[in-house]
């Protein structure tokens, strides 16, 4: 809402010392945030002064134009000894003796237009006589501005002040509950209340009783309880808009168009009551306010032919619809440049219904916005009367004796609160008497009943309904800055939950292992999943679709973190960042079947069944952890060559995550999209009972996937169900006794078939070695002709230790032989000599 200071201060009388900035601060403190203070004169750098035309000579030019060579008296700015300045002017709408606005040489006008003395049409033009558009106050370039001569302005004085350009205009963010502040009247009332000034409402005229004395009106909808119609005859269609009115309308952000239009807008801006004006001669019979019927159409005054919804509220006459109530009038009954007979409509419409209609037809306007926020039901009559008076005073119209008031003002709902409630909730010491004083100043009718207050809000305060609404009103008027902050003492908490702590541990460990976390947008295209090479029946195809996606190209929620990570890789490589180890942790979404419809009554707690349904009615949203590596894991350095990122680094992410939680992972070969079928590990947890939980996969991506996704060749990736990993983490741990006896180490090389997984050999060694085995590390993998085809040699370092005694070599050898025997039995291993 734009509010000019001069307009506010004609409506409210503010105390000494409350200037433009002080009021801005007071407004913001009271919840009317002043976002900007604008001053039109700030766009002009240098003097624009009042000049008086001394004489002029008209000089026809070769180009067909007739210019005027003028002398203009600019008082103290005249050249020494001269009566005025010589100025060339192309406009003809002025006479000798007229007062004009002169931009002196050296002044810069809006748009960076610098005025300088320059030779033109055979004369040196020393300054410029300004038109409205040149000063940035309007679009009129038909002629220059002629200033009012009564009273005569001082020649040479500032011309921007009489033009209203020394104005300060507040741009105020009016919250949805403060509809009454979408008017100068409402803002002036607040200004007076919060600064200690005074305010007398110029619209304080009660709505008369229901009367059909004027133009016939019938109300057929509860959503229009009140409709005032007032006629004005014989308005001069050519009557000019008075300058002060045009200035104010423009300063408030609307265009100045014609007297009838400006009057309607002016009264709306001042009172908050949107008005509609009809050309009375175009109306056919009784006006009826009713809901639209199926199939009805209306051509609105923007010349759009609109199909109407039964939810639209209409103004109709015998000819059918003539307006979308509160939103836009019809073309056929619109005022024209020759209209002399005017019917003014001032009505009250249900906020939600107007909101639906203007959104349905995409017709937001100053009027519909006000109706949606809730207009003062007490003001329609006064607003219509004020508009009629302005048309009478400035357009020569005659106001109908009879006015139609259809319907009546609905009573406002009362509420009872404890007088100490505002103080208790605000945390302020506010005596009951102060509460009463503040609420009365806000227009609330207050009856004090013992320690309770019976409150009835004024018609313009539709936001005051619940007890806490009054608490807020008191708080706003007192100012929140008086609240003394205190930190409440919460009961002893238990910190993060085990799962929350586990996730933090995992993320920290993965970052410490060399991966950088990214967060990507969770919207994917169907094509993204095709590019991953997922089978049609892959569970990751159980997609959750958005009804109104941001982009039709990406209508789904991610079922996997990989598409987002691949996008991040592409963005990085396009920025010459080729060596990447990225990870993301976030929710993925999986459709879990046909949802129900559940919208419990909000006035009570939902039943346990309703709560269960609310929670169950959502897609599955497990939290995943995924990573992608490409380029070089380690760059080449002076100590050694580069280490290219490969499948092992994808596995490392999984191991870093698991070991941080004390979980041991098992891996086995898998062939799953989007991975390379020979370089993909399924990552599992196998519990002590042998029950497997699959967490996901890690490995090198399939070459066709890297090609389809534009990824560097041999990019590797991992994706895990982090919730499942955390759920499998041991709750606690046992620290085993530490043996102080020395260990005995033995190496063993085993030849096995090339396709035997190292993990199987390791498992066999552990199983066979018995309790003395402390650790087993694979330190070499060898394949060569001397082994024979289809064989490989795995070299292990075994360490043995006893908790009770110092082992001998013989002890160790016995255990080693048992281990090797088990490896031979399970895996066909043969010890190399």
């Amino acid at each position: 809402m734009r509010a000019p200071w001069s307009w506010l201060t004609t409506l409210a009388s503010l105390p000494e010392g409350v200037g433009v900035r002080e009021l801005a601060r007071a407004y913001t403190d009271a919840g009317l945030q002043v976002e900007r203070i604008e001053s039109p004169a700030e766009a002009i750098d240098g003097p624009v002064v009042v000049g008086r035309v001394l004489d002029y000579v008209e000089e026809p030019q070769k180009n067909g134009k007739v210019i005027r060579w003028c002398h203009v008296d600019v008082g103290e700015h005249n050249p020494p000894g001269e009566p005025g300045r010589g100025i060339v002017c192309g406009a003809h709408n002025f006479d000798v003796g007229d007062y004009v606005a002169v931009a002196l040489s050296g002044t810069t006008l809006p748009g960076g237009f610098l005025i300088a003395a320059r030779k033109t049409y055979g004369h040196v033009s020393d300054g410029m006589i300004c038109a409205e558009d040149e000063l940035g106050i309007g679009s009129d370039h038909a002629g220059i501005i002629v200033l009012p001569a009564d009273p005569p302005p001082a020649v040479g004085s500032d011309a921007l002040a009489p033009l209203g350009m020394r104005e300060h205009i507040y741009e105020i963010d009016v919250t949805p509950d403060s509809g009454h502040c979408l008017s100068l009247r409402g803002l002036a009332r607040e200004a007076a209340q919060i600064t200690g000034g005074t305010f007398a409402d110029p619209y304080d005229a009660p709505v008369p009783a229901d009367s059909g004395a004027g133009y016939p009106v019938r109300l057929e909808s509860d959503d229009c309880p009140l409709f005032v119609a007032l006629g004005v005859h014989g308005v001069d269609p050519h009557a000019p808009v008075p300058r002060w009115m045009a200035d104010r309308v423009r300063a408030a952000g609307m265009r100045s168009i014609s007297l009838p239009v400006d009057v309607a807008n002016y009264v709306m801006l001042e009172s908050g009551q949107p008005l509609h004006t009809y050309d009375t001669t175009t109306l056919r019979g009784e006006i009826v306010v009713r809901s639209a019927r199926n199939g009805e159409r209306l051509t609105t005054l923007d010349k759009q032919d609109r199909a109407l919804s039964e939810d639209d509220l209409l103004i109709t006459d015998d000819s059918g619809p003539i307006g979308l109530a509160g939103v836009m009038g019809g073309l056929d009954t619109e005022m024209t440049p020759t209209t002399t007979e005017i019917l003014i409509e001032a009505a009250w419409f249900a906020p939600a219904r107007i909101g639906r209609t203007y959104r349905r037809h995409k017709l937001p306007s100053e009027a519909s916005r006000r109706f949606e926020r809730g207009v003062d039901m007490g003001v329609p009559y006064a607003a219509a009367r004020r508009a009629a008076e302005l048309l009478r005073d400035y357009g020569g119209g005659v106001i109908d004796e009879a006015v139609t008031v259809a319907g009546a003002v609905r009573p406002m709902p009362s509420q009872v609160i404890r007088a100490d409630l505002p103080g208790a909730i605000l945390g302020l010491d506010v005596p009951g008497a102060r509460v009463v004083e503040i609420l009365r100043a806000s227009g609330v009718r207050v009856e004090v009943v013992d320690a309770r207050l019976r409150l009835t809000p004024p018609t313009w305060r539709r936001d005051l309904v619940d007890p806490y609404d009054y608490v807020e009103e008191v708080g706003r008027k007192l100012g929140f800055r008086h609240i003394v902050p205190k930190v409440p003492l919460a009961p002893a908490g238990r910190g993060y939950t085990t799962a929350q702590r586990a996730r933090r541990t995992v993320l920290t460990a993965v970052a410490a292992a060399g991966f950088t976390e990214v967060q990507t947008l969770p919207f994917v295209a169907g094509d993204d999943l095709d590019r991953l090479g997922l089978d049609p029946d892959d569970p990751r195809r159980a997609l959750v679709r958005l009804a109104n996606p941001l982009s039709d190209a990406q209508p789904y929620l991610r079922p996997s973190l990989l598409p987002g990570l691949f996008g991040a890789v592409n963005r990085n490589t396009s920025r010459s960042l080729a060596d990447l180890a990225l990870f993301e942790c976030g929710l993925v979404f999986r459709d879990t079947g046909a949802p129900g419809e559940i919208m419990p009554d909000v006035s009570r707690r939902p039943s346990p069944d309703e709560i269960a349904t609310l929670f169950a009615n959502l897609p599955a949203q497990p939290r995943h952890l995924a990573g992608v590596v490409t380029g070089e894991w380690c760059a080449a350095g002076w100590r050694g060559p580069a280490v290219p990122a490969d499948w092992t680094h994808a596995v490392r992410l999984a191991q870093a995550a698991a070991s941080a939680l004390g979980v041991t992972l098992t891996r086995r070969a898998a062939a799953v999209a989007p991975w390379h079928p020979g370089r993909c590990a399924e990552v599992l947890i196998v519990d002590s009972a042998g029950v497997e939980t699959s967490l996901g996969w890690a490995g090198e991506l399939h070459p066709s996937v890297t090609a389809a996704c534009g990824l560097p060749e041999r990019t590797c990736a991992v994706e895990l169900d982090l919730d499942a990993l955390i759920a499998a983490a041991p709750a606690g741990r046992t620290i085993a006794p530490l043996s102080s006896h020395p260990a005995v180490k033995q190496d063993v090389a085993l030849v096995v078939g090339a396709d035997v997984p190292a993990a199987d050999v390791r498992a066999a060694l552990i199983a066979g070695a018995g309790d003395l085995l402390e650790s087993v590390e694979l330190f070499d993998v060898f394949t060569g002709v001397q082994l024979g085809g289809g064989k490989k040699s795995l070299a292990y370092a075994l360490a043995f230790r006893s908790p009770e005694r110092t082992l001998t070599e013989a002890d160790a050898t016995r255990a080693r032989d048992a281990a090797v025997a088990e490896a031979a039995r399970r895996c066909g291993a043969v010890m190399r000599s």
């Binding site: 930190v487 409440p488 993320l507 009804a547 009615n617 959502l618």
Partner: protein, 376 residues
């Protein structure tokens, strides 16, 4: 062996044993041996030369060792004096050796250390350096402040029931926030499921599942049908707070948020509550923090406008208020006994303030440099 030959030669020269011993134990000769030893030890410049000098002057065949062995051959009356003479001489030589050894070792160590010098400014290599995303880090920083006060952390779904996101929070059925221009709904729309537009559904989930009193924060991702540019994202992060207890009000809210601000931005940061409107709080406010750039100075100094706060002196941080009793009623809570406060802070905004991140797009575009503070 040479010592042995020497002894044999002298024996063959015809000296009697007694004469020989007496002659060898002459004080002058002993002093001479010591002088020879001193000269040889002083000449030793390396450990090797030192070991050679030691062998020559204290070894088996050294004159002092040989003389020592002959003491037993002396007459009993002479033995004591001879023993003392030889013992003192040997002690003197050993002492010289020890001192020389210290010098040589010190010199050799100095030399070795000089020779082993490396260029310590060389890059040391190693595994790549990772980092947490600034949002993740900020969530933990903010939650840490609350867990330290005894609050608990609750996480709730991103795909949420419309009832929990809007209805239960006192949004009217026609509230503009519910329009498809503002909110992303899941298909089919009739199932009333959406991507949560704020973390506030965590309030109702908490009230429906926990016993009172509650003091919880709910961090996480939120979604709106918004533009994607430097100052708007369709996906952003909030930290919701909810406290419901006996006797809570706006003063408790102000104190809690002021504490959070000081923990996040420093002890000298001021906050203010500015009245505002939200359906689920009443009274409602926005919480502002003192401008980090001008500290409020630009308000009264038109010559030095501040772009960060637009010369308002304050920067908007989040929304908050006293929980609307209608919300508590939807959870079946007795509003005559309990009251509470709630807030929703922008985590992305907090990162922007705390870490000077300038462009919101960087938060979700995945550039690896972002989490590392902008460096490669």
């Amino acid at each position: 062996m040479s010592d042995h030959n020497d002894l044999v030669a002298r024996t063959l020269s015809g000296e009697t044993s007694s004469e020989r011993v007496e002659g060898r134990l002459d004080e002058g000769r002993v002093a001479q041996w010591v002088a020879q030893a001193r000269e040889a030890i002083a000449a030793a410049a390396t450990s090797e030369q030192w070991r050679a000098a030691k062998a020559a002057h204290t070894g088996e065949g050294s004159p002092l060792a040989q003389a020592n062995r002959t003491i037993g051959e002396l007459a009993a009356a002479q033995r004591k004096a001879a023993g003392q003479l030889i013992g003192a001489a040997r002690a003197q030589v050993n002492d010289l050796l020890a001192k020389r050894r210290e010098l040589i070792e010190a010199a050799e160590l100095t030399h070795r250390l000089a020779a082993e010098a490396v260029d310590v400014t060389l890059p040391v290599g190693g595994d790549p350096v990772g980092a947490l995303h600034p949002i993740t880090d900020m969530i933990y920083r903010m939650c840490d402040v609350f867990t330290a006060m005894g609050w608990e952390v609750v996480e709730t779904p991103e795909a949420e029931a419309e009832w929990l996101n809007f209805d239960a929070l006192n949004f009217t059925p026609d509230h503009p926030a519910r329009f498809m221009t503002d909110t992303l709904f899941l298909d089919p729309p009739g199932a009333h499921r959406l991507l949560r537009t704020h973390t506030s559904p965590g309030q109702m989930r908490t009230l429906l599942t926990r016993d009172l009193p509650v003091y919880v924060v709910v961090p996480g991702r939120t979604y709106r049908a918004d533009e994607f540019d430097a100052t708007h994202l369709p996906v952003f992060n909030q930290l919701e707070g909810l406290a419901v207890d006996v006797g809570l009000g706006l003063a408790d809210l102000a104190g809690t948020l002021d504490h959070l601000a000081k923990a996040m931005f420093g002890a000298d940061v001021a906050t203010r509550l500015r009245p505002h409107y939200f359906p689920f709080t009443e009274p409602s406010a926005e919480v502002d923090v003192r401008c980090f750039v001008c500290h409020g100075a630009s308000v009264d100094d038109p010559e030095r406008p501040c772009r960060t706060c637009r010369s308002e002196g304050w920067i908007e941080w989040g929304g908050c208020g006293v929980v609307n009793p209608r919300v508590l009623a939807s959870a079946g809570i007795d509003t005559d006994v309990y009251s509470g406060f709630a807030f929703g802070m922008g985590i992305d905004r907090t990162v922007m303030f705390a870490d000077n991140a300038a462009d919101l797009r960087d938060f979700v575009e995945g550039d690896v440099r972002f989490a590392r503070g902008g460096v490669r």
